[in-house]
C-alpha cells in the first residue's frame, strides 16, 4: 500500500521540484529484483536441463558414434564445396580427441578405420594421417589388415612418402612374419629420398631373414649401381659381403643336412661335402677369413663373422612392444 502510494505520487507529479528524489524508487527496486530473479531462475533452469541431458546421453560414446556414422568420404567431399581439406582437419581433430579420451577400451576400432578412410578420402595427401593411423590400427586395434589397406591407399597417392612403405614393411615383418614381402617394402622405401639410411641395409637383412639371400644380393647390387656417395657405397659393400656369408652359410647348411640324411652322420670336414658331391666347391670367405665346421653340431660359421646375420624376432622384442 505504502509503496504504491509513494510511487504514484512520483509519477503523478512531474514537476522539477521532485528531481531530488532518488531515481530508484521502491517500485523500481521491486521491478529490478523481480527481473534479476527471473533471469537467474531461467538461467539455472537452462543449465540444469543442459546438465541433465548431458548426463542422460553419454557424450563420449556419442562422439564416437558420430565418427562411426560419418558419411562416405566421396559424398562428404562433394558436400564440402572445395573446403574438403578443412573437413579432413576437423575430422582428424575429432579422432584425436576421442583417441585421447580412452573411451575405446571396448576393443572396437571399426569407427577409427572408417573415420581414417573418410579423412584420407577428403585429403588423399594427408600423409601424417596415414602414418599415425596405420600405426594405431596395427598396434592399438591389432588389425594389421586395416592398417595395411590404409597404408597402401596412402602409398598409392603419395609415392614420395618413405614412411608409408616403411610401416608396411614393419607390419609384414613384425605382425605377419612375411620377411621377403617386408624386405620388398623396405627396399621400396630405401629408394625414396629423405629416408634414414638404416632402411637400406634393413631391407637386405629382411631378405636374408626370409631365406632369400640372393634377393638381398640383387637388391644391394641395384643400390650400389644407383649410389655414387662413397660413404654409402662402403656401407652397401660391407653389407653385400655379410649377405654373401649368409648365402654361403645357407648353402652349407643345406649340404650338411642332405649329407646327414643320406649317411646318417655329420661330415668331419667341409671338404667331405665337396668330395662326396654335396657341394661343388668351398666358396671363399669374402672378408678374407675362412668357413669352419663344428663337427659336433654340424654348424658352419665364418671366422670373421661368427654371429649370423639376423633380425630381432617378435619374441625378442616383446619389451619393445609393451612400451608402445
Amino acid at each position: 500500500m505504502m509503496s504504491s502510494g509513494h510511487s504514484a505520487k512520483v509519477f503523478a507529479d512531474p514537476s522539477p521540484s521532485h528531481n531530488k528524489q532518488p531515481w530508484f524508487c521502491r517500485r523500481m527496486w521491486i521491478k529490478l529484483t523481480f527481473l534479476s530473479l527471473s533471469i537467474a531462475t531461467l538461467l539455472t533452469a537452462i543449465l540444469g536441463f543442459q546438465f541433465e541431458l548431458d548426463q542422460r546421453h553419454d557424450q563420449k560414446s556419442g562422439r564416437l558414434e558420430s565418427l562411426r556414422f560419418l558419411p562416405q568420404g566421396e559424398v562428404l567431399r562433394l558436400a564440402l564445396l572445395g573446403h574438403h581439406h578443412l573437413g579432413a582437419d576437423v575430422i582428424w581433430l575429432r579422432i584425436v580427441q576421442v583417441l585421447g579420451e580412452d573411451v575405446v577400451a571396448e576393443r572396437d576400432y571399426e569407427w577409427l578405420n572408417h573415420a581414417l578412410d573418410v579423412v584420407t578420402t577428403l585429403d588423399p595427401q594427408y600423409v601424417f594421417a596415414y602414418d599415425v593411423g596405420g600405426t594405431i590400427l596395427a598396434e592399438l586395434a591389432h588389425r594389421v589388415d586395416w592398417s595395411n589397406r590404409l597404408l597402401h591407399k596412402g602409398y598409392d597417392a603419395n609415392p614420395a612418402a618413405w614412411r608409408l612403405p616403411f610401416i608396411l614393411g614393419f607390419n609384414h615383418f613384425f605382425h605377419l612374419q612375411d620377411y621377403v614381402q617386408a624386405g620388398e617394402y623396405m627396399s621400396q622405401a630405401a629408394r625414396i629420398p629423405g629416408r634414414p639410411y638404416y632402411i637400406d641395409t634393413l631391407a637386405a637383412r629382411l631378405y636374408v631373414e626370409g631365406g632369400s639371400p640372393t634377393l638381398a644380393l640383387s637388391y644391394l647390387d641395384s643400390m650400389l649401381q644407383q649410389t655414387t656417395d662413397p660413404q654409402l657405397r662402403s656401407v652397401y659393400l660391407e653389407k653385400y659381403k655379410e649377405v654373401m656369408v649368409a648365402r654361403d652359410l645357407q648353402n652349407f647348411d643345406q649340404a650338411v643336412e642332405r649329407y646327414r640324411q643320406a649317411r646318417g652322420k655329420l661330415p668331419r670336414a667341409l671338404s667331405d661335402l665337396v668330395n662326396e658331391g654335396y657341394l661343388n666347391t668351398i666358396p671363399e670367405e669374402p672378408f678374407g677369413g675362412e668357413y669352419r665346421l663344428h663337427t659336433e653340431t654340424g654348424e658352419v660359421s665364418s671366422s670373421t663373422h661368427p654371429e649370423r646375420l639376423h633380425l630381432y624376432r617378435p619374441h625378442e622384442a616383446k619389451s619393445f612392444k609393451k612400451s608402445i
Binding site: H85, L86, D89, V96, Q125
Partner: protein
C-alpha cells in the same frame, strides 16, 4: 571518369553496410580460433591454421560478395535513387560497371584485412610462410570477382531474395561442375552433349581452389596460373556484358 565516381560512391555506400562488418568480424574470429585449435591437434598443426584461414576467408568473402552484390542495383531501384542517375547522360553499362568496381574494391580491402589477420596468426604461431599462399589468396579473390558478377547479373532482373538464392546455387553448382562432366561421359550421346554444354557454360569454381596446394606444397605451373586468371577475368567480363544487356532493356516503374 563517370565510372570511377560511381564506383567510389558505391564503395562509400558499402562501407555503411552493417552486414559487411558482421561478416568481417566473424571471419577474423574464425581465423583467430586456429590459435586454440592447434593446441588440440596432433601433427601438421600449421595446415590447420592455413586450412581454417583460407576456408573462412573464402566463405565469408563469398557471403559478402553475394549479399552486398545482390543489393547493388535492386536497392537503387527500390529507393528510386536510380532515376537520378539514369536521367542524366550516363550510359546504363557505365552505371553497372561502376557499381561492380565499387564492390570489387570493397572486397579487395576485405580480403586484405582477412589476409592480414591470417598473417598475424601465422606469425604468432610461427607457421612457415610459402609463396604458394599468396597465389591461393589471389585465386580466392578471382572467385570473388566471378561470384560478384553473377550476383550483379541476377540483381538486374529479379528481387534480392531470388538473386541471393540463384547466386548461392551458382556457387554450389560451380564447385560441382566437374562431376557434371564426369556423369555426362557415362551417358549416351545426347545426354553427354547436354551435360557438356552445361559444364562449359557454368563457371568452374574448383579451378580457383588452391587451398590444398598450399598445405601440401604442390606447385602450379605458371601457364596454368595465367590461363586460370584469364579464365576468371573473361568469365567476369562475360557476365558484366550479360548484365549490361539485360539492364539496358529493363523498364523502371
Amino acid at each position: 571518369m563517370r565510372v570511377l565516381s560511381i564506383a567510389f560512391n558505391t564503395f562509400r555506400e558499402n562501407l555503411r553496410e552493417k552486414l559487411l562488418y558482421n561478416l568481417l568480424i566473424f571471419a577474423l574470429l574464425m581465423i583467430g580460433s586456429s590459435v586454440l585449435l592447434t593446441r588440440l591437434t596432433v601433427g601438421e598443426w600449421d595446415r590447420l591454421i592455413i586450412d581454417l584461414g583460407l576456408s573462412s576467408m573464402n566463405l565469408f568473402g563469398i557471403l559478402i560478395a553475394i549479399f552486398v552484390g545482390i543489393s547493388l542495383v535492386s536497392k537503387e531501384i527500390d529507393k528510386k535513387t536510380i532515376f537520378t542517375i539514369i536521367s542524366k547522360p550516363v550510359p546504363r553499362y557505365e552505371f553497372l560497371l561502376g557499381k561492380y568496381l565499387g564492390l570489387v574494391v570493397t572486397l579487395l580491402i576485405n580480403t586484405a584485412v582477412m589476409a592480414a589477420g591470417l598473417f598475424v596468426v601465422m606469425a604468432y604461431l610461427k607457421a612457415p610462410f610459402t609463396p604458394m599462399l599468396l597465389k591461393a589468396l589471389g585465386f580466392i579473390f578471382l572467385e570473388f570477382l566471378v561470384i560478384t558478377a553473377v550476383a550483379l547479373v541476377f540483381s538486374t532482373f529479379t528481387s534480392t531474395t531470388l538473386s541471393a538464392i540463384f547466386t548461392l546455387a551458382v556457387y554450389v553448382v560451380g564447385h560441382l561442375s566437374t562431376d557434371l562432366k564426369l556423369f555426362g561421359d557415362k551417358m549416351g550421346d545426347a545426354g553427354k552433349a547436354i551435360l557438356n554444354a552445361i559444364y562449359y557454360v557454368l563457371p568452374n569454381l574448383e579451378r580457383f581452389n588452391l587451398k590444398g596446394h598450399v598445405i601440401h606444397h604442390i606447385d602450379v605451373p605458371a601457364t596454368d596460373l595465367v590461363l586460370t586468371t584469364a579464365y576468371g577475368l573473361t568469365y567476369a567480363a562475360f557476365l558484366l556484358l550479360l548484365a549490361s544487356i539485360i539492364f539496358q532493356r529493363r523498364d523502371f516503374q
